[in-house]
Symmetry: C2
Subunit: 337 residues, 2 copies
């Protein structure tokens, strides 16, 4: 079975079949459907040896995911994987725990797999030039930046939201509803990472409204785990500190927080409003639906691949893309009494 | 920086450093920690060229995931990826939509990436020998079997739960609580797939108790989507058919179903008990916690890799492993009134 058989079977040219198989845009939907049906009926398997001949280099793009099981990453990984495949490259996935060193893992992967480029999904915000020196291939920081590090802007690429500004915006939603006693649930206020940036946004929003920060309202989980988030909120409730609203730095942690509030006898939103950042599918189905700032997950994955391949293929150098969130008004925020 | 420097730095032999880097078990935790700390401090990057020399073959293991975004797969993928890496292979991930042909995708990937072996995560249950002929490398069906197909038992490998028996067990939990009007939420009763098998288990459990099947209690979503599950339950409620319990074939669909029951004014479990199969982390945090049969996701991913590498490395032929679920008694099931 050759590509010629497929072309004859559906009455189109060999180059048209080739365009369909390589996912080129300049083919009508009708022709694409006809060719794909023929490919399936004839059990035709594209032979890549010709391509291998003209492309002796590795076609591997690494994706190092730090934060195994973080549901926010699921859609980003999917989008990145599809973009990498569409471009004719191979995605090599490597997932590590947050306590592991992603730069070491990435450098090791890059050598072992002869990677052409690398996407770091969920890494540290405080790289130094010495640390990244081991990465001698193009790479993109996806979902994070170097806010606490010493890399120059032209030393690395990134795609992310503005964590501090978006956190400020989330807390602002609560403030506008009249809340003044607003608790925050985060990993750590000094993690030199996403948690610290979003904490800054929280502090900034309070400052904008002349509200003094109350350390008793800061719940640190020490982990991005749902179980840790649940326990932190239970402890916050046991302290009997008064609060009418809660800002959580991630949807998954917010889902656990809602459970903890419920188990602690607080109604949402009547006794406690709650808002988060992320917009994972699951948080649509909490009761009530979680109010959150949705990050464009697909766009984030696709943009990371675009930036990376522009570098891999020599079209452009390092660059930074800031994406914006969209407010989903669920039922978890109401006016303060 | 060489492996010798690392060995000198922490006062152990080169072979000890090598064992740590290759994740061999015969190293004490203390030594492992010391070596890893040195590796990080010295920014040592293992050089794989020696390994490349002795292993000229590709080290790629493909993982074709059918059902993009299915949260049940997250932990399975993570476990499989880690097992593949521990064994010194590279995982090549390819995610496709449920409407795509995973065998075609797999065969194409196998040729293009020179795969040594392949794991199919979430595929069809009705392969024929003609269809799988295109796969000329070892492969393992992960989370599914060939219940509706014509492959011989020695023609393929699989690791999964016994879908029909586990569904029967789930419905049995409801029956023992006195429920007689039990609805079922599934993709399709005739999909020749997981949905049809679990539907059979549902019918079997009803039959065990002499209960006649009422087609009005069968809600087909036509999709594994959470949105489709939500809509199906809303429609079920609108039909005003009386039921006191609901069996859902997957946790993610059950989370959407709980939201639909709530929005339709039904309390869980007082007005409707609900049980599912899967045991994803999210379903721990529903209100109330979902009662479900937990599949051993990590074990499933690891076992798939074990079966596959036994074949790739010539230690064994095709085999089948059936795993068992564990009941998590949440708060979503109560005694029928």
């Amino acid at each position: 079975m050759t590509i010629k058989n497929v072309a004859e079977y559906c009455g189109v040219s060999v180059s048209t079949v080739s365009r369909v198989l390589n996912d080129h845009p300049d083919v009508s939907e009708a022709v694409r459907a006809r060719v794909m049906a023929a490919v399936q009926e004839l059990h035709y398997v594209p032979n890549s040896s010709a391509r291998d001949l003209v492309r002796p280099q590795s076609d591997a793009i690494g994706l190092v995911v730090r934060g195994v099981g973080n549901p926010f990453f699921t859609a980003v990984i999917r989008a990145a994987e599809q973009a990498v495949n569409r471009a004719g490259y191979t995605l090599v996935l490597h997932q590590i725990h947050t306590e592991e060193n992603e730069l070491l893992a990435a450098a090791s992967l890059a050598r072992a797999k002869k990677l052409r480029g690398l996407i770091l999904l969920g890494g540290c915000f405080d790289y130094t030039p010495e640390q990244t020196a081991a990465l001698d291939i193009p790479y993109v920081c996806c979902s994070f930046t170097n806010s606490f590090g010493s890399l120059g802007n032209t030393d690395y690429s990134s795609v992310s939201i503005d964590d501090q500004a978006e956190a400020r915006r989330a807390v602002e939603v609560l403030l506008r509803k009249g809340h003044r006693r607003i608790a925050v649930l985060l990993d750590s206020i000094r993690d030199h990472s996403i948690s610290e940036l979003r904490y800054r946004g929280y502090c900034q929003a309070l400052g904008d409204h002349g509200i003094r920060l109350d350390p008793a309202l800061v719940a640190e989980t020490g982990d991005f785990d749902m179980a840790a988030a649940y326990d932190s909120v239970r402890r916050l409730l046991e302290r009997k500190t008064d609060f009418t609203a809660l800002f959580v730095i991630a949807d998954s942690m917010a889902i656990a927080a809602m459970k903890a509030l419920h188990d602690g006898g607080r109604r949402i939103p009547e006794d406690c409003s709650i808002i988060a950042i992320d917009g994972i599918e699951m948080s649509t189905y909490t009761v009530p639906t979680l109010t959150t700032l949705i990050q464009p997950q697909d766009e984030m994955g696709e943009e990371a691949v675009r930036i990376l391949l522009d570098m891999v293929e020599g079209r452009a150098g390092n660059r930074h893309v800031r994406l914006h969130t969209t407010l989903r008004a669920g039922g978890s925020v109401c006016r303060a009494n």
